[in-house]
């Protein structure tokens, strides 16, 4: 174990910018990531859909949740990379959060701490 900080960058982005976000994170030096399909609500206005011409509203929008644990790369670099790649300027571009990670272990090797990341 070392004292080097491990942090998790969690980003909620539009599903269609995901390829660009993946590329940007890799270029920033943090290729490992986890992606989940999620639905969420923020500033994006509700969407109207129809079934047999009868309309209904959807206020939870489909987003991609990207989790990227960072140890030896500057966290700010990764956050910037995601934000730049995901930005369209329209409401609904998403948000990026940074969380502290208390410990890490790579299952295959048993390495712990920043080495595991």
């Amino acid at each position: 174990m070392t004292d080097a900080a491990i942090e998790m960058v969690v980003a909620y982005v539009r599903p269609d910018v995901l390829p660009a976000v993946k590329r940007a994170i890799a270029n920033a030096g943090a290729p490992s990531l986890t992606v989940t399909k999620v639905s969420g609500r923020g500033s994006q206005p509700v969407k109207t859909e129809q079934w047999r011409g009868e309309e209904y509203t959807v206020d939870l929008h489909e987003k991609a949740k990207v989790e990227c644990v960072v140890a030896d790369v500057e966290t700010e670099t990764v956050v910037d990379a995601i934000a730049d790649a995901a930005r369209t300027g329209e409401k609904g571009d998403g948000k990026v959060f940074v969380l502290p990670v208390t410990t890490a272990r790579q299952i295959r090797t048993g390495k712990t701490g920043p080495d595991a990341v």
């Binding site: 859909e49 129809q50 079934w51 047999r52 011409g53 009868e54 309309e55 209904y56």
Partner: protein, 443 residues
């Protein structure tokens, strides 16, 4: 150029069998079409209903329906009764029985789409039995069987056909099968009542989107494939003299195809006009409505007639569905009245205007009377059936069961299981309060 009678009979029999198998294949079509239009929590129930229509239905149609049709035919025409149940011991009649059975089960299975997502399963099984044992056979007895509406070469005409002076034209069952099923569905949906949330306190409708348009459209196209058996297969290959019926086969095949195309295009245009964008579900419904509309007419009308009837059937789907929802306040989930009922009636009434033999007022009168008789019987027969089902079993599941979904409450299954814990049921599942589901701590 005639061929020997034995060969002609052999080819006709093989054709009849192939056709029966094709029409049987409409069953998976209906299963997919209806599954796609309901929520994921009710898919297993829809599938059970479709399987029940077929499996319980063939038994009921064998035990009673097929013979009852002959009884009704003789009673409504004054013909000698003969031995209507002789088919039990006559293997040479069993291919014909099978062809009758696949038509009967098509009529029965239409109903399930209208009453989906809230009907009590035992009550539905009862309805399926009565539909195939009584309601449908009475209809065929009055029509194809030689009864009330039919003109007969051997034996007396049906009582109404005698009065009007013409036989009722419905070649492959636009009304005998489809309108019957469509009206029975509408009547059933009225008896069962709308799904929770379909209408608010003011009576305004709110959409309950189905879970997969993919399944609905795939089911539609499978149905259309089976429909070639339904329509083209109703024509034999050779006539009694061993002469190839090439003109009739060609006309039936062409009109079936054109009606399908025109129905889909018309529904697509109407949906684009009403909703700004062409809608896949309406287009699929219109494709089927086009097929329904020409089903009674295919050998009788010109190809222009095939196109016009199909287009009318397709164009009427959306307005008819709106009428059922907004004016009747009936929750016909899959729109079976719009697709099967209205299209069947319109396509069959209008046959004389496009008849290859020329327009005949007498025939038009007969078509109107015939559609009226079949529709009236459909309302009375299915109404009595649903009323009886309510009395015996109760038509409606409880609000709690409806909320949970019929898959869980009626059948104890999940069609799309998530997060199964894995392992055998012997392993004790754990819950946070320390108790085990179903165990002592679970209350």
């Amino acid at each position: 150029m005639a061929i020997p009678a034995g060969i002609a009979e052999g080819i006709n029999t093989v054709w009849a069998l192939v056709v029966a198998f094709l029409i049987f294949f409409m069953q998976p079509g209906f299963a997919l079409l209806e599954s796609g239009q309901v929520r994921a929590k009710n898919v297993g129930n829809v599938l059970m209903k479709n399987m029940t229509d077929w499996t319980v239905g063939v038994l009921a149609y064998f035990a009673l329906g097929y013979g009852l049709s002959s009884v009704v035919a003789s009673v409504t025409s004054g013909a000698a009764l003969g031995t209507p149940f002789a088919y039990f011991g006559d293997p040479s009649g069993w291919v014909t029985w099978l062809v009758g059975a696949v038509f009967a089960m098509t009529a029965a299975t239409i109903v399930s789409g209208a009453v989906a997502e809230r009907m009590n399963f035992p009550a539905y099984v009862f309805v399926a039995v009565v539909m195939t044992a009584v309601v449908y056979p009475v209809t065929t007895g009055m029509t194809w069987g030689g009864g009330l509406l039919a003109v007969n070469a051997n034996g007396p005409d049906g009582y109404i056909a005698r009065v009007v002076g013409a036989g009722y034209l419905d070649f492959a069952g636009a009304t005998v099968v489809h309108m019957l099923g469509g009206i029975a569905g509408l009547v059933g949906a009225w008896f069962v009542g709308p799904r929770e949330g379909r209408f608010d306190a003011k009576g305004d409708s709110h959409p309950i989107p189905g879970h997969s348009m993919l399944l609905a459209v795939l089911g539609t196209l499978i149905l259309a494939f089976g429909w070639y058996g339904f329509n083209v297969g109703t024509s034999a290959i050779f006539n009694g003299e061993g002469v190839l019926l090439s003109a009739q086969l060609g006309r039936v095949a062409l009109n079936t195809t054109l009606g399908m195309g025109a129905g889909a295009v018309a529904a697509m245009l109407v949906s684009a006009y009403r909703q700004d964008k062409p809608d896949p579900l309406w287009t699929a419904n219109g494709l089927l409505a086009g097929l329904v509309a020409v089903t009674g007419a295919v050998p009788h009308v010109t190809w222009l007639g095939g196109i016009v009837l199909g287009a009318l059937g397709g164009a009427l789907v959306l307005p008819t569905y709106r009428f059922v929802v907004d004016s009747l306040h009936v929750d016909d989930v899959c729109g079976v009245f719009a697709v099967h009922g209205m299209a069947g009636a319109v396509g069959t009434v209008l046959i004389p205007f496009f008849a290859t033999s020329g327009f005949s007022t007498t025939q038009l009168v007969m078509q109107v009377v015939g559609v009226g008789v079949v529709a009236a019987w459909a309302v009375v027969g299915s109404g009595a059936t649903f009323w009886l089902a309510d009395l015996l079993f109760g038509l409606r599941v409880s609000p709690e069961e409806e909320e949970a979904g019929l898959d869980a409450s009626e059948h104890g299954v999940a069609v799309y299981p998530e997060f199964t814990s894995g392992g055998s049921p012997d392993g004790q599942p754990v819950s946070a309060d320390g108790g085990f589901p179903g165990g002592e701590g679970d209350d």
